[in-house]
């Protein structure tokens, strides 16, 4: 008889493994949701000469695990082997990581190329960069007919300080088209694009297609002299916000310009380039330094710049509880769109006011916030100054910008009550009262508890005993879950059910034979014509049943056979079941 292999220990191990797997899945899902990596690519130069080599930089930010899966195949351009680098910086307690791939690119054919996206594998995600445009020309003439200057307003800024890149383009008056090729215009890793400042009223403007696709308004500065020559000068501006400390690299810029002619057909007109020239401006770097932690106020909301502030209210004479709209405007050169504005609801100075929220307007040159306040009592005589900490890059320190207090008059409500009375209806937390009942009251019945020895015995001793018993039982009787063992246990019930279905002599005999076969884990055919005494004698002594039980067995079988074959009275079900019970009790 084989022992069954369902060990509780094995099953417990499986359960534990399942629990560990569930925990691992939950934590890795959490980790995946915590930060989304960003990928980008830039060209060192948007225009190169035939045979020249430039560089493509592919960056994966916010991850350490990035692989460059595919380098696009562009006929006419040859890509080199990627050089991988890993960069990490710590700014204001946050870690910033970046994986960078530098790939050389040699122009082997002349023409206009679109470099398809680079595919990266970041963790388990597949991310793509944007496509990039590259112009390869045989010759780049143009220095006599135009000039290009690209310069930042500062070469050193702090994190969060806006930066303007100004582009001055001068063209010979005969030229009638210009196409800037600025690899940094659409995407510059480590920066966020800011809204451009509107042109001054009355300024003359023209539209330029940067990189052949982005329509940009440029200010036309008119005819200017430079080195004894006259040029039509245009000005473009790009405002960005560096969000990461380090060196911000702005690649080389080019402008293609020349003259366009027109081909007129019968039904259409087409422009074509009559000649084409190039001017370029070199690449440059801007150092982005982190905001200093020393001296940083606790309430600092991230405001950086050279700002001014003013405030006004829509009314200065109100009843208690009436709304006052306090409008605060911050202006100047700074990250106006990004800092956290102060909240009067959290300021001690605004204790006498209830704040009902705010509305905001953001633009390149102004941040306007309108707070909805209500004075709580007639004791309020002014709207206090609203202060905000700002990091001034010029002074290189934190300064506090404050509005002027605004005098107001608050009249009491009719009936004398103020908002304070309304506040009296508000609830607050307090300690729960003592239990003041006498010490002898309400304590309930105290139940005893088992001692440590009993607990230990129940937890360890008894299970060990049961396991030992189990081993003995298994060795002796085999696994009780075996089909034969189950059949054996169910044999009396099956006999009862069979006799209830059909108690004819033949059916009763068959049912009894099946019963005997199930009890001895044999088939019922084994009991056909079997001599019960001889069978019992043949068993090992410890498995034999009593002589009396053997007699009952034999007697019953004879009666059943007589009923089937001899036409005798059928054996009553009760007697048959009683005989079955007695042999089971005897150990069959």
């Amino acid at each position: 008889m084989k022992e069954h292999s369902h060990s509780p220990i094995r099953i417990a191990r499986r359960l534990l493994g399942l629990v560990v797997l569930i925990f691992a899945t939950i934590s890795s899902a959490g980790a995946a949701q915590r930060g989304r990596p960003v990928v980008g690519a830039t060209l060192e130069s948007g225009v190169i000469k035939l045979g020249e080599t430039t560089r493509v930089t592919v960056i994966a930010e916010g991850t350490r695990d990035a692989r460059l899966r595919e380098i696009p195949n562009v006929p006419g351009l040859r890509f080199g082997r990627p050089q991988e680098g890993f960069f990490q910086s710590f700014v204001n307690g946050r870690s910033s990581v970046q994986v960078r791939f530098d790939i050389s690119l040699r122009a082997e054919q002349e023409g206009e190329f679109t470099i398809p996206p680079f595919v990266l594998e970041v963790g388990s995600q597949r991310l793509e960069t944007r496509p990039m445009a590259l112009r390869v020309v045989r010759d780049m003439r143009g220095e006599e007919l135009g000039f290009l200057e690209v310069r930042p307003t500062a070469t050193r800024v702090v994190e969060g300080q806006p930066l303007t890149i100004e582009l001055l383009l001068g063209l010979d008056p005969d030229m009638n088209f210009a196409q800037p090729r600025l690899p940094w215009w659409e995407e510059l890793p480590g920066t966020v694009e800011l809204e451009s400042r509107p042109q001054a009223p009355g300024a003359r403007t023209t539209r330029l297609a940067v990189n052949g696709k982005v329509d940009v308004e440029a200010e036309s500065l008119g005819l200017q002299e430079r080195d004894g020559k006259s040029f039509n000068v245009y000005r473009l501006e790009r405002r960005i916000l560096p969000v990461r400390s380090g060196l911000l690299e702005v690649p080389r810029s080019h402008v293609e310009f020349g003259r366009l002619g027109e081909d007129r057909g019968i039904f259409s007109r087409r422009s074509r380039k009559l000649d084409s020239y190039f001017v370029s401006a070199p690449a440059f770097e801007v150092e982005v330094v982190p905001l200093p932690r020393q001296g940083q106020p606790l309430e600092f909301g991230g405001a950086v710049g050279n700002l001014t502030v003013r405030a006004r209210s829509d009314t200065r004479d109100v009843l208690v509880g009436d709304s006052i709209k306090l409008t605060v405007e911050w202006e100047g050169e700074g990250n106006l769109e990004f800092f956290d504005v102060p909240d009067p609801g959290r300021l001690d100075s605004f204790r006498g006011f209830r704040s009902y929220g705010k509305t905001e307007e953001k633009s390149a040159d102004r941040r306007r916030v309108t707070y909805d306040l209500a004075p709580l009592s007639e004791d309020a005589t002014e709207i206090p100054a609203l202060a905000m900490a700002v990091f001034d890059p010029l002074l290189e320190q934190y300064v506090t910008l404050e509005t002027d207090p605004i005098p107001i008059r608050v009249r009491p409500l009719e009936g004398g009550g103020g908002l304070l009375e309304e506040l009296a209806l508000e609830t607050t937390r307090d300690i729960i009262d003592i239990d003041a009942r006498p010490l002898g009251e309400g304590l309930g019945r105290t139940a005893s508890s088992p001692n440590n020895a009993l607990v230990g015995g129940t937890l360890f001793g008894l299970p060990v005993l049961l396991l030992g018993l189990r081993t003995l039982v298994r060795r002796r009787s085999g696994d009780p879950a075996r089909p034969a063992a189950k059949r054996r246990r169910r044999a009396p019930k099956i006999l009862r059910a069979a006799l209830q279905r059909d108690s004819s002599p033949a059916a009763a005999a068959l049912a009894f034979a099946e019963f005997l076969g199930a009890r001895t884990e044999e088939s019922e055919a084994a009991w056909e014509g079997r001599d019960a005494r001889a069978w019992n004698q043949a068993l090992p002594p410890e498995q034999r049943i009593s002589t009396q039980a053997v007699q009952v067995l034999d007697h019953m079988r004879q009666r059943l056979e007589a009923a089937v074959f001899g036409g005798d009275q059928p054996v009553p079900n009760q007697e048959l079941l009683a005989a079955a019970k007695s042999v089971v009790e005897a150990g069959l």
Partner: protein
């Protein structure tokens, strides 16, 4: 097989007979407890009249009179009243101490937990740690007193034995899984009992400060701090001298702290 089962049944019957709870003990008050009850009653009257100072004195007298004779629930009642009285006097820090002393006897008392939470908040102390697995496990381990822990462990053992018995008699995959589940459940129920064997501080004190407490190598305020204790940390009193107490804290930190910055939890 039959013999073994019969023996086992007898054994289990004896086990249950042993484990059955004793007949209910009525809450009769002994002499000391009666005096404590009298002091407690007076303290309650004073508390109701908002005379918190005298109420505190009465409650302290009740604790002293009933020393050794008061049951944990009686002790909790007095300690909670002490906590409420000092809280009403405006001393949220000491209220935290009294409530914490009461929680040692009734760790799951919701009203006590609510009061200690409010007192900690008013005193500027951090809230009782929660939300992390370690904090939740710690809370579970200390949420039952030793007698309850023994009862839980005993119950877990019985469940395990029952599952083993079924598996012994019936076998099969379902019974085996039942044993595995019962073993897991028994372990979970027995954890507080296992934890009760970890030696606790002999004379635990609670650090009653809103900010961290400086520990000095000698009982002199002008000496520099050799360590810092977090608000709400539990330390062991080793010695005392005038206004100073020598403590041993987490991470084997030892040193002297001002006596009024720590609160004895053995009440």
């Amino acid at each position: 097989m039959k013999k073994q089962l019969t023996l086992l049944t007898l054994f289990l019957a004896l086990l249950f007979a042993f484990a059955a709870p004793a007949p209910a003990q009525e809450a009769r008050l002994d002499q000391g407890a009666q005096r404590a009850d009298a002091f407690f009653g007076e303290g309650v009257q004073l508390y109701r009249r908002a005379e918190y100072g005298p109420a505190v004195a009465r409650f302290e007298a009740a604790l002293e009179a009933g020393a050794g004779e008061l049951s944990p629930p009686q002790r909790v009642r007095i300690l909670r009243a002490m906590g409420n009285s000092v809280f009403r006097q405006g001393d949220a820090l000491r209220a935290v101490g009294w409530y914490s002393a009461a929680l040692r006897h009734a760790p799951r008392d919701r009203e006590l937990l609510a009061n200690v939470d409010l007192a900690r908040s008013d005193a500027g102390m951090p809230a009782l740690a929660s939300g992390t697995i370690a904090a939740d496990v710690d809370a579970y381990l200390h949420a039952v007193r030793p007698p309850e822990a023994r009862r839980l462990a005993f119950l877990g053992g019985l469940i395990l034995c029952l599952a083993l018995l079924v598996e012994l008699l019936r076998g099969g995959r379902a019974a085996a899984m039942g044993v595995a589940f019962a073993a897991f459940l028994a372990l979970a129920l027995a954890l507080p009992w296992f934890a009760s064997f970890i030696p606790e501080p002999v004379d635990p004190h609670l650090v009653l400060r809103a900010n961290s407490l400086a520990v000095r190598s000698e009982p002199r305020a002008e000496l520099p701090a050799v360590a810092h204790l977090e608000p709400g940390a539990i330390v062991t009193r080793v010695d005392e001298l005038d206004d100073w107490v020598r403590i041993e804290g987490p991470g084997k930190t030892t040193g002297w702290v001002p006596a009024k910055a720590v609160f004895s939890l053995i009440r």
